[in-house]
Structure formats: C-alpha cells, structure tokens
C-alpha cells in the first residue's frame, strides 16, 4: 500500500507539473463544447439554387416563391437554358438546378400532373441529399395545394390516403445538439483516458526511468495501478466538466440517473485505460504510441455512431462496431441522457464493456514484462 501511495503521489506530481498536457486536457473539453456543436451543424441552409424556367407562368412563379421562402435555398440566377445553368455547377457556384418545363401550368391543369427536373451537385453528398428531400417536400406540398385549388372536392376525398405525421420522441425539436453533445462527451473521455495512459507509460520507457523501476522491488501490479488510477480520475473529472458545460451552455439536463451514467463511465474507462495500457506495452517510443492510438481512435470515433448512425452502416462495419467501446459509450450516454434509460436498459452495453475491460487489462498485464 505504501508503495502504491508513493507511486500515485509521483504520478500526480508529474501530471500537475506538465502544464501543457494538463492545460490541453482542461481546454479541450471547453473548446470542443463551444465550437463543435455550433460549427458542426447538421441542418443544411443556404443551398445555392439556379432556376431554368421555360414556362414563365403564374404557377411556376408560385412554386419558386415557395422554394425560396422556405429559407433553405438561395436563388443564385435565373437562366434560360440548362447549359447556362450548368456552368454554375461547374464553377461550384450552385448546388442545385431546378428546371421547369414549358407548358408547366397548362399540363398541370389539363393532365393534373407535371414533372420538374432537379439536378444536384452531389460532391457534397449530405448537402445534396438533404437539399433533394427539402425540395421534394416543398414540391409535394405545392402539389397538394394546387390540387385542392383546382378541385375543392378532393379535400374530403383525400381522407382515404395515409397521412404520415412524424413525432420525434426524446428530442422533439430534432435538436441535433442533443445527440451530438453526449457523443462529444464520449469522445473526450476516450481521448483523455486512452492517449494519456498510453503515452505516460511509454514515456517511462523512452526516458529510461522504467529501468530504475524495474530493478526495484516495485510489483508489476502496483506500477500498473499507479498508472491507471490517476487517468481514471482525470477522465472522470473531464466527464464531469463536460456534463456541467452541456448544462450551462446547451441546457441539456440528463433525463436518467446520474449514478447510472457514472457507473457506466467508470467501467468504460477501465476498458479504455486498459486499451491505452495494451498499446503502451507494444511501443518503445511516444511517437509509436501516439500514432497507434491515433489509428484506433479515428476508427473508434468514426465508427462510433457519433456522426453517422451505426444502423445505417453496412453489415461488416456494424460487426466492427461490436468491438468498438466508443460505440457502446455513445449509445449508452444518449440512452441515459436523452431517454432516461434505467440500469436494466444499459445492462447489455455494460456487460460488453466489462468484458472488454477485463480482456484488455489482462492482455496488457500479461504483455507487460518486467524483464525485457
């Protein structure tokens, strides 16, 4: 116990003396919380639109005014031919071309249907996808109103059709910040816990201090514990800072029990720290550890369901996420914070992360050789 105490004292002294690392671990959550949710806006606005109107009728103008007044589109130009409009796309000045055919109004009235042509610049896939769905919605609403205007009787007949009214549970305003911020919390804890643990142990190897430790009677168990505990505490502190920030900056109040959240974080951190420990046992320099951690962290975070939902990933990617602790964490933290899930609800995730914690730490422990 006395050995562990002095080892811990040493670790904390070193952590608090490394002003740059300590500073960045404190600044990182604040910056990520202020900048990321504001900048990483999942709503697409200002889609640049070029219109080619061959009809010049009242109805075509009405459709255009519906589109521009939606707030999502910005009318760049009004051209006579598609080729002229296409130049805007080529120069990357426009995202979408809307072509209204000649006799739009006449055919709409006579035949009750009409086609419009939408061409999207799909280089930015998200923008194209969202823009197309916005345009589709606007056009179908317009369509409905036109029909009602033409045949008032249809208003009643329409009852037979299925009317879909979506209701967004747990996040009624579809505030993307609500789903993003718990994810950022997960990212932060993972980065701090994983990176710092891996780098710290490798630093001892690189500087050679581990030689002095290895010729001493310090037991492997104590040495490893003394490396894990400080970062476990540090990451928990950062998680708490993150929770407080999300409350004050974005008024996010966890719906679920904070104890459940912290219990999960505690186990999750064991897995992440174990992973950092494992990486450190395979590396001789901080540079190696940094790059290996970076490699895994990128995959973990990109496949963690923070930016794209896991459910829409291909099967093989979904299989990988089963081994991704970050995916479990982001899932659980969203469940508890937004849905108010109970302890029983997160049991499968907790179980998976516990298994990871045990496997990673045992593996790292076996691989950490005191005799090199």
């Amino acid at each position: 116990m006395r050995t562990l105490k002095i080892l811990l004292q040493k670790e904390f002294r070193q952590i608090f003396r490394n002003k740059i690392i300590l500073g960045i671990t404190m600044v990182m959550p604040v910056m990520q919380f202020i900048i990321l949710p504001l900048a990483a806006n999942f709503e697409i606005k200002n889609i640049n639109l070029v219109v080619v109107d061959h009809d010049h009728s009242v109805d075509s103008r009405k459709l255009l005014s519906d589109i521009t007044s939606s707030g999502y589109f910005r009318l760049i130009d009004y051209d006579n031919t598609f080729d002229e409009a296409y130049k805007y796309i080529e120069r990357d000045k426009a995202d979408v071309i809307l072509e209204i055919p000649a006799d739009f109004e006449r055919n709409l009235v006579r035949e009750g249907s009409q086609k419009i042509f939408i061409a999207f610049n799909a280089i930015n896939g998200t923008k194209a996808g969202l823009g197309a769905s916005y345009l589709g919605t606007i056009a179908s609403n317009y369509n409905k109103n036109i029909l009602i205007g033409l045949m008032p009787s249809i208003k009643n007949e329409n009852k037979a059709g299925i009317d879909v009214v979506p209701l967004d549970w747990f996040n009624p305003q579809r505030n993307y910040k609500l789903s993003l911020i718990p994810g950022i919390l997960g990212m932060l804890v993972t980065l701090v816990g994983g990176f710092l643990t891996a780098l710290n142990i490798v630093k001892e190897k690189e500087i050679g201090t581990i030689e002095q430790i290895n010729v001493s009677p310090i037991r492997k168990k104590d040495f490893i514990l003394a490396k894990l505990i400080p970062f476990w505490i540090l990451a928990t502190v950062i998680f708490t800072i993150g929770l407080i920030l999300s409350y004050f900056l974005y008024h996010i109040v966890p719906r679920g029990n904070l104890l459940i959240l912290y219990a999960f974080v505690a186990v999750y951190l064991l897995a992440i720290l174990g992973f950092g420990l494992l990486v450190s046992t395979y590396c001789d320099t901080q540079q190696q550890a940094m790059f290996i951690m970076f490699f895994f962290m990128l995959i973990f975070i990109l496949l963690g369901g923070l930016f794209t939902p896991i459910e829409s990933m291909p099967l093989w990617a979904r299989a990988i996420t089963k081994l991704n602790p970050v995916a479990y964490f982001i899932n659980v933290i969203r469940m508890v914070m937004l849905k108010g899930s109970s302890f029983k609800d997160i049991l499968p995730e907790l179980g998976a992360v516990s298994i990871m914690a045990v496997v990673l730490n045992v593996w790292a422990g076996l691989n950490y050789k005191k005799k090199m």
Partner: protein, 310 residues
C-alpha cells in the same frame, strides 16, 4: 560477491548479434571491479543481466549468492543500479526523486543518510530543483544517491562518468573509494582507460569477449613489448615515418606523444634500450623531424588494450 559463469546474450531475430560471448568472472566482496571496453563491447548487456533486467541466453550468474534468474526478487532488494543514461524523473525535484526511491525500497532518506551524506551535501543547495535542470555532474551524483539510498551491498554503475567533466569525474571516483571502504562491492563500467587504474581489478572486454582479467598493475606488467614515447615537431609526419620504421611492432598516437612498441626479445640479446632510442632518433632525424624526444615508458592499461586489439 558477484559471479558470472559462461554468460551468453544474443540479439536479433535469429540471434545473429552476439553481444556477450561466454563471459565468466567473479567479483570479491568490497572490491571495485571495472569492465573496461569500447562502446558496443557488451558492458551494458552484462550489467543488465546481473541486475535481472535481461535474461541470459545461457550460462548463469549470481549476486550475493542469489541466482539472477530464480532469485531476481531478492537481487532487486540488495543491488543498486545506475544505468548509463540518466534515468531519474526529470520533472521531479532532487528531494522528491530521493524520497521516491527510498520509499520504493521501503526505507527512508533519514535511515541511510550516513551513506549518502558526503554526496548529498553537494546536492543540498539544489534540493528544490528539478532533476532535469541539474548539470551533468550533479545528475550523476543524484543518480548515485538514488542507487545508494536503500543501502545496497552491490552497486552496479554503468558508465557513470561518461559525459562528466574531469573534476567531477575525479570526485566521483573518490566517492566510490569511500563507498568501498564501507564494504560495498562495486562493479563499474567505463570506456575511459585512465579510470581503469582506479579499480582493484579490471576485465578488458571487446566484442562481448573478455580479453583479460587482472589488477591494472598486473595487466600493465604483463605487457610483452618494450614501449617508447616519442615526440617531435610535426606529429602527423612523425606518425607517418614511425609506421615505416622497421624495428617497430606497433605505433600509435597517445595524447601529445606517439607510442612505439618494439619486440623485447632484441634486448635480451644484449641490445640496450638506449641503442634502440639512438637508432630511432637517427631514423627520424634523417627524415627531417626536429626537436625529437624519446623516452622509455611503462605500459598503461590503454597500451595493453591496444595490444590486445591487434
């Protein structure tokens, strides 16, 4: 007491690099034993095996009667090891480093203060300074303090004076002598031949092999040839001409002198060393050298080492 018995250590995937080649030696109680050899001779590998940091491929070794493989735990409690590279915590202060290592060995600084007092008084003014900010000599003193703080019976010092100024080196060796007088066995490695004379016994090592083990005096005395130190106005010309001199078995520069070795058998036949000196002087004078100075000298450990390498 330390004994090494036929130690072998190889590195590389196919064990192709033979770092320690069947090394055997034994060190007596309270002796300063020096491993003398150039960089890459295998000194550090031997130390790391003896301090249980490295497993030998074959052979055995024991420290204070404890086997380095089986009883490594006991060895870790009784030895002090100072690696060649400064390996204390640079971001901790002098005091904190010392306290840390004392606690790790389950003792306190106060308990063994006597042992480190002479060294620590010099460090005392800097005790609040971070170890990384100390000068080279001070770092070595701190490292020695930390290696001594648990009162080890055997001390392993891997190149403790490399990169340390001559004054600090001298002080360092005086400290080792004092520690020896307190009954501590000291194994020290060094690439500096002049430090060899300060050891009780030395082992000359080259390419993982021990060339010779004896007291520095005996090693010097066993030098088979006669040795002369030569000086002249132009060193480079002197060396060039000496290399052409027929009666020299070896010539090399040695500080401000050039050393010339010659077969000692010729002197048994009645030739006096004075005649050899005359012959050499005439030869050099013929080749345009001036201010020639020749004297017969005793071989140093370095001369022996050079002889061994040839």
């Amino acid at each position: 007491m330390v004994t090494a018995n036929d130690l072998v250590k190889t590195y590389g995937k196919k064990n192709e690099v033979l770092a320690v080649d069947h090394v055997s030696f034994s060190v007596k109680e309270a002796e300063i034993f020096g491993l003398i050899g150039p960089d890459g001779a295998g000194k550090t590998s031997i130390f790391r095996m003896l301090t249980t940091l490295l497993l030998p491929d074959s052979g055995s070794a024991s420290v204070q009667g404890f086997d380095v493989v089986k009883d490594y735990k006991a060895i870790r409690n009784t030895v002090g090891y100072m690696p060649g590279r400064f390996s204390l915590y640079q971001d901790l202060t002098v005091e904190e480093n010392l306290d840390f290592f004392a606690t790790v060995f389950e003792t306190t600084v106060a308990e063994n203060y006597d042992l480190i007092k002479d060294i620590y008084v010099q460090l005392e003014p800097f005790k609040k300074r971070r170890a990384g900010k100390l000068s080279g000599g001070m770092k070595q003193k701190l490292a020695l303090c930390c290696a001594l703080i648990h009162k080890p019976t055997v001390l392993f010092l891997d190149e403790p004076t490399t990169g340390v100024d001559p004054v600090s080196r001298k002080e360092f060796w005086e400290m080792l002598k004092r520690l020896q007088s307190q009954g501590i066995t000291i194994l020290v490695s060094t690439p500096y031949m002049d430090e060899a004379d300060l050891c009780d016994r030395i082992a000359l090592i080259q390419n993982g092999k021990i060339l010779s083990i004896d007291t520095p005096e005996n090693i010097s005395a066993a030098y088979p040839d006669k040795l002369f130190a030569v000086k002249a106005n132009k060193m480079s010309t002197l060396l060039k001409e000496l290399a052409q001199f027929k009666n020299a078995s070896a010539t090399y520069s040695f500080g401000e002198y050039a050393h010339v070795a010659t077969d000692s058998k010729q002197f048994e036949a009645g030739n006096a060393p004075v005649e050899f000196e005359k012959e050499l002087e005439d030869y050099l004078a013929d080749h345009g050298l001036e201010n020639i100075e020749i004297k017969e000298i005793k071989a140093s450990v370095e001369d022996c080492f050079i002889k061994f390498l040839k």
